[in-house]
Symmetry: C2
């Protein structure tokens, strides 16, 4: 029996099914988001070749191919100071582009103060703030150490980190364990409860996961992300499926290698925190995209990251430079008792997910996320469609069922952002602007145009077309 027989006649390429789909959306009063042509950003000129006759399209194709073929595996864990390259004894890593204490936003300051007390470098949060301001602590971006951190993104020397290895190219990336929601360091909260929880993560969760991973062997994060995109996640602000799949994969080995009490507590903790996998999706996607760094002539964006004060991007052919602009405010859904007046500007390295074709770029795969970050399911569909206009290509392994299994839009091309006037779309958590408080909401934001304008100007200069 052929599938056509189900319908009583041959199938035709007429769009009535999808029209009724859109009619249904209209019938319910949904706005579809206008995805239209915009004038090119000011200063746009066509860039086709880098010095030495390097074809930029070919360079971007090479960069894309590296990212597409990367296979990130969770291979183990370690303590930051013993594991992350260049991590110093009195160093604290933070999200986003470089920044000193004096310009740090409230939540980053709060998280730094918490980390200093957690490390035992100070006894009180006041002393911690003084120490942070004294110049005795070195602050460095996570991204300078193959590391990514959500929100404030603080990594201090004693914190355990996941080790992710890109099996295809051998590069290695790192991220801490996710703390859960609520009163947590990454949102700028500190206090005895925050520190005690971090200590539990170091003394109980981390050793249990180390034992588990020794038994399971490497865990294929690309496979989990690919599956999660078919299960309503976009692995930035929706990680419920990915966290579930991770639990399924590690639970038997966890039971075998830990006491009942520890295994049960670890499972209850991970089950309580659908964002647990975020701290694996982020370094996995970092491990994929950083393979494009240094590709001569490539205009692909390899980093978008925010420290809560500045938003910064980096570009493949100029891998060591940051192009920064003020971090924008986020259009949010607010937790009870909070408003936009409480919000810090956009913050965190988690936009590595969008940089690598997930998060906001994959929202069509995760329409249910709009209940958490705002917007409508038609917005979720149209945003992914829109991002194809500014990307070099598409993922091979990360696909969107509702778009007929099309690969997600991958590899932001600075030139296409300039030509289209379309800025990258990001969904994100929102921290309170004051230190010590925590999460106030989640929402939607665009990367600032200025980052791309400055990067484009630098490319023109670099490529001699100024």
């Amino acid at each position: 029996m052929a599938i056509q027989d189900l319908f009583g006649k041959p199938l035709q390429a007429v769009n009535i099914g999808l029209e009724s789909f859109s009619e249904s959306l209209h019938a319910q009063g949904t706005e579809a988001v206008q995805v239209d042509w915009r004038p090119p950003l000011e200063g746009y000129v066509e860039l086709t070749h880098a010095p030495g006759g390097v074809d930029i399209d070919a360079a971007n194709a090479e960069a894309l191919e590296r990212v597409r073929t990367s296979r990130p595996l969770l291979v183990g864990m370690g303590i930051a100071k013993d594991t992350i390259p260049g991590m110093g004894e009195r160093m604290i890593l933070h999200a986003g582009p470089p920044i000193g204490w004096e310009r740090m936003c409230g939540p980053t300051r709060g998280a730094v103060m918490g980390a200093i007390v957690y490390e035992g470098w100070a006894d009180t949060y006041e002393e911690a703030a003084e120490l942070a301001a004294s110049g005795e602590i070195t602050f460095d971006p996570c991204h300078h150490h193959h590391t990514v951190g959500p929100m404030a993104g603080i990594v201090s020397p004693s914190m355990p980190v996941f080790i992710i290895k890109n099996e295809t190219f051998g590069n290695v990336t790192y991220a801490t364990q996710n703390e859960g929601l609520g009163h947590v360091l990454r949102y700028g909260a500190y206090g005895d409860d925050v520190i005690a929880h971090l200590k539990w993560m170091e003394k109980t969760l981390y050793p249990a996961l180390v034992r588990t991973l020794e038994m399971t062997g490497p865990i294929d994060l690309r496979s989990i992300i690919a599956q999660a995109l078919h299960m309503g996640d976009e692995v930035h602000n929706r990680n419920r499926a990915a966290t579930s799949l991770l639990i399924r994969q590690i639970a038997p080995a966890l039971i075998e290698t830990s006491s009942k009490q520890v295994a049960e507590k670890v499972l209850r903790f991970i089950d309580s925190n659908d964002h647990f996998f975020l701290n694996l999706s982020m370094p996995a996607l970092k491990a994929m995209i950083e393979t494009a760094e240094g590709v001569e002539g490539s205009t692909m964006v390899t980093v978008m990251a925010r420290n809560g004060t500045d938003f910064g991007i980096r570009v493949a052919c100029m891998p060591d430079r940051w192009f920064v602009a003020p971090a924008p405010m986020v259009a949010g859904l607010w937790l009870p008792g909070y408003t936009e007046d409480d919000a810090n500007p956009d913050i965190g390295d988690s936009s590595i997910t969008e940089t690598t074709g997930c998060g906001g770029f994959a929202m069509a795969a995760a329409p249910a996320i709009v209940r958490f970050v705002g917007g409508t399911s038609s917005l979720a569909l149209s945003v992914t469609q829109e991002m194809y206009q500014i990307t070099v290509g598409e993922h091979e392994f990360f696909t969107v069922p509702v778009l007929n299994f099309r690969g997600t839009p991958l590899g932001i091309d600075v030139r296409k952002v300039m030509a289209s006037g379309i800025c990258p779309f990001i969904n994100t958590g929102i921290a309170h602007k004051k230190p010590g408080i925590g999460m106030v909401g989640a929402g939607l934001v665009r990367a600032p145009r200025k980052c791309f304008e400055d990067a484009f100007a630098a490319l023109r200069k670099e490529f001699g077309s100024e």
Copy 2:
């Protein structure tokens, strides 16, 4: 910051986002399925009132409300003979409408033979077949005992069953534990491996789950199904998310109440079988829809079920009658080595999912399922749209994110099937037509028109409008 600001101007109700969505599908050569008007089925007349002036629309609204407000909970487990009402000592329950050994299809016969050996009523499968043919075994439909079984749907007295209670109305339903894929009884396979696995499920899995449920208390299956529909399941042939959520919910209590060895083995088994939750979604949905049985004047379908020979339906206002037609062949994707020549006709009680607004009716929530059952993601969307034309209403708790969280189409109205000519759409597994072999594929099928024609004729007679 308002969400409009993200887009640089006020949002407008223009469908460009979704047009680009459909263009993308076309660009990739996808057919959209034609969902069009069809002439009413032969013999259609308008039915508006039942005897005594009962308004049929009002009756269907009452039936719908009962189903919508039902809340099925997994409350415990038991052994079939001690638990299922009316289960006799030498009784075997089967899927679909009533049938005797002489008319049973190959997979049902194979499963009966396996169950007889499992029960110890015969030592060989030849003896089992003789016993089954002798008249000493009573065969009864699962549906006559508030029970549902996938594929052959065989329940024999010693098998453990889940007990699902509808908290809203108090009715109770039952289903066996899912065996996994491969060489399994429900697909008509038998043999030492099949029996040994059933014994493990009785002696190890069942007691472990009983202990676990005693600790967790009732598990809200409506909540799991609602979440799973936001995670790419339709809880008929895609239960990966629902099974994951179940694992998360039971794992800690399982660890606490079982030995390490048992807990690990049980978790590995459930993890190996994404269909594990099917045997919970089915009785949960049965518990919801059976509350419509007996609503005077309601033309809502309360059962669609197949025994592999016949396809049968039942209607709310005539709850004890079956309207049967030959079970249709399924348009399938075939496992390696098999073709449609190997396939048995449509089989199983699992179409209770479609009857209650899930499965094929909720495929828009689960576009990735087309890789398992065939079709395209546009088909998945359009089929759900089409089913709204033959249903009384929509689910309140079961919603489809991509349709802007519209409730799934719920409650097939025999009158609407007749008026529209649209028959219910079902996705399903496919068994080999011979006993003893097992699964050969999965696919898509429509319920036979004749069931609805006969039901409609009976309604006309019942309602005096003949």
